[in-house]
Point group: D3
Chain length 238, copies 6
């Protein structure tokens, strides 16, 4: 049995609150149970230098945790003077995931910077961040369309993410911290609403897992992402 009493294929209570921020062009507070991630999408008129004069746009992401978003306080990265390897790994993942569903050539030379800040962490912050970021990104594009900067929203798929893992031998969906910290192996799945694979990060620090186990996790993730994608569409009014 899961510590939370959830069924193996049951998501936590998920709330996506769009337009949470007063200033950002797009924003979403993504709550997966006690994991709360604020995602904002900011339009920047400058693209990275490698894209200048190419007519292409860019989407990038940054990730951070408030020092006391965690059970015990984590040192502030700004005070330490550098972002941890974990932070960089996560923000690169978020950026790649969003770019995989964006038609960069249809954006013009505009950059969207997505910030994912963890207000409270109870496992699965990177997958909540991706799920909420899609909503924020969509809204920022809507804004650009409404301003006439873009003629259409340059998103070619809908993306969401969830983690799955083996908890006491059972494959379960959407790990919370109590599960995450004790499970044998876990994977993060970034999938499109129609079942395409954007990113898979499977990690078995403790014991390697079998191919069949991995495929069960992938199936669970497909179910979970379908639910999340439906929720994204609902809050976006699609």
């Amino acid at each position: 049995m899961r510590p939370s009493g959830r069924a193996p294929n049951q998501l936590r209570s998920v709330i996506l609150e769009p337009a949470f921020s007063k200033y950002a062009e797009g924003s979403c507070l993504a709550r997966f149970g006690d994991t709360h991630v604020l995602c904002t999408a900011s339009v920047d008129e400058k693209v990275p230098s490698f894209l200048r004069n190419t007519g292409k746009g860019w989407v990038t992401a940054e990730y951070g945790m408030l020092p006391r978003s965690t059970h015990t306080r984590t040192d502030r990265e700004a005070a330490k003077g550098k972002q941890s390897g974990r932070t960089q790994e996560i923000q690169r993942l978020i950026g790649r995931s969003l770019r995989a569903v964006t038609q960069l050539t249809a954006m013009g030379e505009i950059q969207i910077k997505v910030d994912c800040d963890v207000i409270q962490a109870d496992g699965g912050t990177r997958t909540a961040a991706i799920t909420g970021s899609y909503v924020a990104l969509y809204m920022a594009f809507q804004k650009l369309v409404s301003l006439g900067t873009l003629s259409a929203i340059p998103l070619i798929s809908q993306v969401a993410a969830v983690s799955c893992g083996l908890y006491k031998g059972t494959p379960v969906l959407d790990l919370d911290y109590a599960e995450d910290s004790t499970c044998q192996a876990d994977s993060n799945f970034v999938l499109t609403a129609d079942g395409g694979i954007v990113e898979i990060q499977g990690t078995a620090e403790d014991t390697p897992f079998r191919q069949s186990e991995f495929l069960t996790l992938l199936d669970l993730a497909q179910q979970g992402v379908a639910e999340l994608a439906a929720l994204q569409r609902k809050v976006l009014g699609l």
Copy 2:
């Protein structure tokens, strides 16, 4: 007339939401109109090295802004690899303000780390941070008393803060961003509930101000802090 339509001596709508965080020993979300600062107080069993074996405790503070808490996106300090001078100035101010009302010798060798993170900024983030931090700090001490670690709450005064400034020639209380960005001179006042002065930071980057003007601002601040202190007591049930 003020952009917000407020009277010169009128605070913004202030909401102090205690116990906002699931994990922190003390916490408070301080909302001054559209300025929202999350303050958490974390107990650390280690004091800074200069206090080891002295029997004294310490209170310190860190401050940060989410990148899109501001009207246009601000670069993330963790990504830049250092905290700005402004950030350091503010977090040092918060720390000094809290220590001024704490009896460090009555804490034992314990450190409280207060984190003030600006979720949304509309002027006056440092004064909102101090006002909310007092609530978070008080709650953390309550927790230590309830655990038997401390026998009494080692706070000798109650502290809150507010900014005042000359807006189009008129002294006004609790500047919001529209006022702050255009006013001639402004001051941050950190005061105790009974009118003691903890910190004053008066700054006239544009034109020096007269002594009489400064004293009017100080009077306004005393009124404002009295209101804020009453609100702190209310949410703390005192």
Copy 3:
């Protein structure tokens, strides 16, 4: 057809040269075609602080590229003053992969630091690094056994890695740079000799890939790792 003329399921010419370094306790120069990675394993008597007095050991990894290992010169990370996100992501992957096959509780409080330095890069440096690191790590443990520090080699599986991807629509094994820079989607597979999954990193920056495509890549990887594992055993004399 692949630029190199290889069959879809054909590895590059792979040479693992053990004991390449005069000083390191274990070392291996891993050559996958024109990709050359020097892997050294150094024994350190100190474990990270979180393991002190636990009786457990640790394996960690660092990764770097010589500035002109690449087609055009890459800035030196030591001169820039920080490791890139890519570097940190890779070295964390190598460390996790090695720890997944190591019985940390059987090592005593010893740390093995594995350094993977890319002398020349032609795609697949991280998978070559993992494959060579296993050899270096094994040798370092052999040395500790021969010195009597350990009674047995604390490795519970044999690990190797390879990348696969869709090149012009065809699933191919062991991507070189010409393929990697143009393929639609690629994945890095870290697998054990008996088919267990240690890490999977599937990335589709361009277009999401289908689940069936992904499974084909996983099959190719299983074949490739079987070959690599046989080569590891051969050079280790097992």
Copy 4:
């Protein structure tokens, strides 16, 4: 009685030595008793990027202490790789104070960089720095007028600074280290020669002070600044 034997409203022996530096466009060695601060003003033809093409100039300041300017050696900030929060707070204060009396729109796109380096410290380094910097800045503007770059000196007021505090219950002017390290509360006052307030930094880390005490300190500061301003005029030949 004060440790130095001075009367409560008595400044230390103050010597302003203009043109101390062979190369700087303006310079002044400010000695307040045993506190010696070298202030240089350097003309830079480039303004910060936010002022480019605005026709406005800028004045900025940097502050540092020689490692053995203090009673015991302080670590060198250049070796530690960052400036402390205190350093940044002080240099921001100096810069704001000078800008408050400078007509930036009358400077053209020129920047003056003021460096304040503490050769020896015995309390009150920031106020000595401001007092000496005004002299250095004035001289640099004189030089620009003599070169025909400017038609008039773009200074609208004369600024100087002094600290005051409560020492054993008595309000005293111009604290030295022996007083500063034991006083209950102290304030730094940056004032114009005609009594305008440019900056006030009042700090009561130990015990909050009463409003009446604060006003007494402000009066003392007005007297002290009047003396310092007279000395500035004398060494500048005004």
Copy 5:
């Protein structure tokens, strides 16, 4: 007797392997006994900003050691976030030595970046680096001539380097680590093939040495450099 059994005026076995790197415009693996340094010369179309629009070129160098090139592992500079003083001192020496024999005005606005990476260290890495870098630099210039970018190789002398020292009272040539770590005084000599002095770095950390001893070392160095220069010419086919 020397630990290696060499005669006092005998170099180690020296092998210069040109064109070691697949990508670099010029490269050389320099082996002085067990000291192995990979030198690559990369052509960069951009000169440093102080040379822009001067028509002059530049040659610069960077130096690094692989973490386990040494007897015990050295921390990775990229991970520490800065290059040591020793590293900077050495790379500045290499750059100056190469520029001393290059006619910068005949290069056009091109920069050659030389990277010297120590694969294995057994003393004398900086002198091996200079000796190998000359070969790499020559080859890069040959390439530019063959491409028609330059009309002639802009090198005015041939440079090589060797260290000498007093080992147990005897002056010896080309110190290896066993000698270097115990010798009283040692010097690095960077000389031209025709006996010109480019750089001398004599260091007596233990006991000052006599002028006559120093001159004997200089004579030994002249002999050693003559041999090294002949080898350079041989591998370059001159």
Copy 6:
């Protein structure tokens, strides 16, 4: 003719002002013409970790330039966040030079930190720094003897330094900036009062120089150091 009108073998006017600093255990302001370097020696009760429990002491040095010590302003290293390669090279040289004449085993586990800060620079700052540092170091040892911490001054030789170079073909002693910036080749000589060689740094960035020229420079340096050493003894009362 030299720009200053000095004879080829003539030092600038040299003034060594001991006890310049109020706090440092030893100090000396070294003036070589317009080059002014403040040298302080601070006693630290802690040795570097590699010397702990060895009974040996250590002498180390740090070097810095005030931003406007130079003809045009140089960026502040503390603000840039790192010391330049030149700074590190110089401070390492000063430290080695002082250690070469100190009997570290006779110091006990004490460290002397020498700070050399350039107040004004007109060429030859590193040699002025070494010459002044010897005086500061001697005084710090005197202080330790007077306190009974040491029984005798643990200095085995007297060290001073001077630069020489070829200026318009003529070998000259003690280069000033006007000469240094145009000379073909220059060398820094750190010598003992009795003619021993501690450090030689000969550099010919422009054209290699002949062995005979180098020997002439060495002779000039011996004369110059003899004069400087006599001056050191005079100000130390020896």
